[in-house]
Amino acid sequence: MTQRITIEPVTRIEGHAKITIQLDDDGNVADAWFHVTQLRGFEKLCEGRPFSEMPSLMARICGICPVSHLLASGKACDQLLAVRIPETAIKLRRLFNLAQFVQSHALSFFHLSAPDLLLGMDSDPKKRNIFGLAEENPQMAKDGIQLRKIGQTIIELLAGKRIHPAWVVPGGVSDPLTVEKRDKILSMLPEAKEIALRTLQWFKRSLENFRDEIRTFANFPSLFLGLVTPEGEWECYHGRVRVVDENRHIVADQLDPVEYQDYIGEATEPWTYLKFPYYKPMGYPDGVYRVGPLARLNIIDGFDTPLAKQEWVEFRELERGAILSSFYYHYARLIEILHAIEKMEELLNDPAILSKQIRAIAGLNNLEGIGVAEAPRGILIHHYKVNEDGLMEWANLIIATGHNNLAMSKGILQVAKHFVNGKQLNEGMLNRVEAVIRAFDPCLSCSTHAVGHMPIHIQLIGADGTLLDELRRD
C-alpha cells in the first residue's frame, strides 16, 4: 500500500510551506515535493502606483530583509530617473546591505538552525528551539541575539528604524550619515567580529558530527549563480553575474544583470506558487542553479578583506570543485557575516561616507528600470515598467528563494531517501527533511509574490510512469 507523509507546516523558516513525501508499496521514498502554500500578489498590487513609492512598498514584501527589496527597488528606480547616483549614496547603500547581511544571517544561523546543529537533529522537538539553545549553551544564544541586534541597530542608525525604513529613495538615500552615528556604529563592530570568529571556530569543530547530513543535504551537482566584482571578488550591491558549474569552472562571467532575461528563464509547476528559475542556455530543468551564501562562495575568486579571505581559503579546501552540499550554506553564512563586519569597518573609516552629496534629483527619464542586488538569500531582481506619467504598469520580481526552488526540491528527495523509511518513522527523520530546507534559509513570503496568468504545465502520470495526459498554458 502506498503511503503519503505530509509535514505541515514546516517550522523555523520564513513563511508557510509544506512537504509531501510519496512512499511506494515497500515503504521506500518514491518522490517528494516542496509546496509553498501562500500567495502575496505584489506584482499586481503595485500597478497604477507612482514609481517613487516602490522602494517602500516593495520593502513590505518581507520584514526580515526589507533592506534587500529597498535596494533592488531603489536601483530599478535610479534607472527610471536615468541618473548616476553619488558615490557616497552607493557607499551608504552598500553599508546598509552589509548590516542586513549580519542581522539576517544571524537570525538564520542562531535562531533557526543552531538548535539543530547544537542539540542534534534527533533531540526533543520541544527543546529544539532558541530557548533550548539558551539552556544548553547560553553563550551561543547570547551571541546570536547580540549579533542580530548589532545588525539591526546599524540599520536603525542609518535609516531611522529597523523594519521597513524609508531611507532608500530613487536617486540615492534621503539622509546623510552623521559623525556621531558613524562613531556609534564603529564602536559596535569589534564585538560583532569577536562573535563571528568565535562561532566560526565552533562550527568548524562540529562539522564532524554532521557527516551524514553533509553527504545528503541537497548534495548534488548544479550551477551556482551570483554577483561578482570586475575582479571576481565578493559583491553585494553592484557587480556582474557569474555562473559556475559543479567543477567550479566558469560557465559565464561578467554578464550584465540588467539583461537577466537573456539568460534566466522561469518555469512554473501546478503544485506550488513558487516559480522555478533556470539558466536558459541549459534549459529546464537541467539549468538548475543555486544562489545565496554557498553559491557566492563558490563563484568568487576571493574576498577583499583579510579575515574573510583567510576563512574562504580554508572553506575552499573542503572539496576540489565547487562545494556541493547545501549543509555548507551555514558555514558560508558565517564567513559572510565576518566579511560584512570587516567591510563595514572599511567603509566607515573612509571620510567620504560622511558627504552630504547623497541624492541625484531627476524626473522620469526612462520607462523601464531593472535593479539587481545580492540579498542574504541570493540574487534579487526588480524589474519595472512605467507609463509616461511615472505610474507603474508592470513589475517582475525574481527572489532568491525562487532561484533555489529546484535545488530545494531535489534536496528534499535526497534527504528523504536517505533518512525516511515508511516502515518505522520517527521525528528526527522528518526534522532532517525540514532542516535541509532551513539550510537554504528560504524566504517564502518574499518569493510567492506573483499573481495573474501564470503559465502552467500539468502532467498526469500513471502508476507505471507513463504520461497519460498533458496540459500547457503559456
Binding site: P50, E53, H164, V169
Partner: protein, 239 residues
C-alpha cells in the same frame, strides 16, 4: 458710523468666555485654548462643515452642531468633549479610513498626515467597518504634482484655496455621496487644465497624501501652509 461690536457671553466646557457676535464656536474655543479636533477646517479658508469632526453638544439642542460653522449665541452652554462626542468622532474617522485606501505605511505623507494624527490622538486603534477598497485612479498628468484619489477625504480644502485664494477654481467636486470625487476643470486630466497656475497651494493645504509633489518617496512629503494667513490678510482679511 460703524455699528457697535456686540459681545456675547457663553460657557465652553464650563468655562465662561466672551465673544464677538458672528464668531463661530470653534474660533472662540481656540481663542480660549480649548481644543476641538478639525479636518476640513483650515484657518484662512471659508469654513465648509464637511467632516463633522468638530461636532459639539449645546445644552437645549438635541442634535450635535459643527463648531466650525455654528455662530455663538448669548448664554450658550457648549460641551466640546464628552464620551458621546469622542464616540462619534472616532466613528467618523473610521468611516473615512474604510471608505478609500489609506495605507499609511506606504503613503507619501506617512508621519506628516492630519488624518493619521487625528486617529492617533483620538485613539483609533482599529477600523470596525469593512474596508470598501474602491478601485480609484491616480492622476499624474501634471508636470509637478500628483492627485491620488485613494487618499482623498473630500475636505474640499483644495477646492476652496484654488477658488478663494488663487482665484483659478481648477478643482471642484463631482458626483454625490459615496461617489463624490474631486475633479480638475471639467473632469479632465489635471495636466490638461488651462487655468491651473501650478502654484501648489492645493497640494500644501491638503491634509492627507491625496495631493503631493511628484517624485516624493514614502514619508517624504511635508505640507507647508505658512503662506495662507499672509495671503488671507493681503486679500483684505476676507475669509
Amino acid at each position: 458710523m460703524r455699528a457697535p461690536i456686540r459681545i456675547k457671553t457663553l460657557t465652553i466646557d464650563g468655562k465662561e468666555v466672551s465673544a464677538r457676535e458672528g464668531e463661530t464656536i470653534l474660533q472662540v474655543a481656540r481663542e480660549n485654548g480649548i481644543d476641538i479636533p478639525t479636518l476640513c477646517y483650515l484657518e484662512g479658508l471659508e469654513p465648509y462643515g464637511a467632516c463633522r469632526l468638530c461636532l459639539v453638544e449645546v445644552k437645549g439642542i438635541n442634535r450635535l452642531l459643527p463648531a466650525c460653522i455654528t455662530q455663538v449665541e448669548e448664554g450658550m452652554e457648549v460641551i466640546t468633549n464628552s464620551e458621546r462626542l469622542v464616540k462619534y468622532r472616532k466613528m467618523i474617522l473610521e468611516l473615512l479610513f474604510s471608505e478609500r485606501n489609506h495605507t499609511c505605511s506606504v503613503c507619501v505623507v506617512n508621519g506628516h498626515c492630519e488624518l493619521q494624527r487625528l486617529a492617533q490622538k483620538l485613539g483609533v486603534t482599529n477600523i470596525r467597518y469593512p474596508y470598501r477598497y474602491p478601485n480609484l485612479p491616480i492622476d499624474a498628468t501634471h508636470d509637478r504634482f500628483v492627485v491620488d484619489h485613494n487618499r482623498c477625504v473630500l475636505c474640499t480644502r483644495c477646492v476652496r484655496v484654488c477658488d478663494q485664494i488663487e482665484g483659478a477654481h481648477v478643482w471642484d467636486v463631482m458626483g454625490r455621496g459615496i461617489n463624490s470625487r474631486i475633479i480638475a476643470d471639467l473632469n479632465q486630466p489635471w495636466g490638461t487644465s488651462d487655468v491651473c497656475t501650478s502654484c501648489g497651494k492645493c497640494v500644501h493645504v491638503c491634509p492627507t497624501g491625496a495631493l503631493f509633489e511628484k517624485g516624493k518617496a514614502v514619508a517624504e512629503m511635508e505640507k507647508r501652509r505658512q503662506f495662507l494667513p499672509y495671503l488671507t490678510v493681503m486679500r483684505g482679511g476676507k475669509q
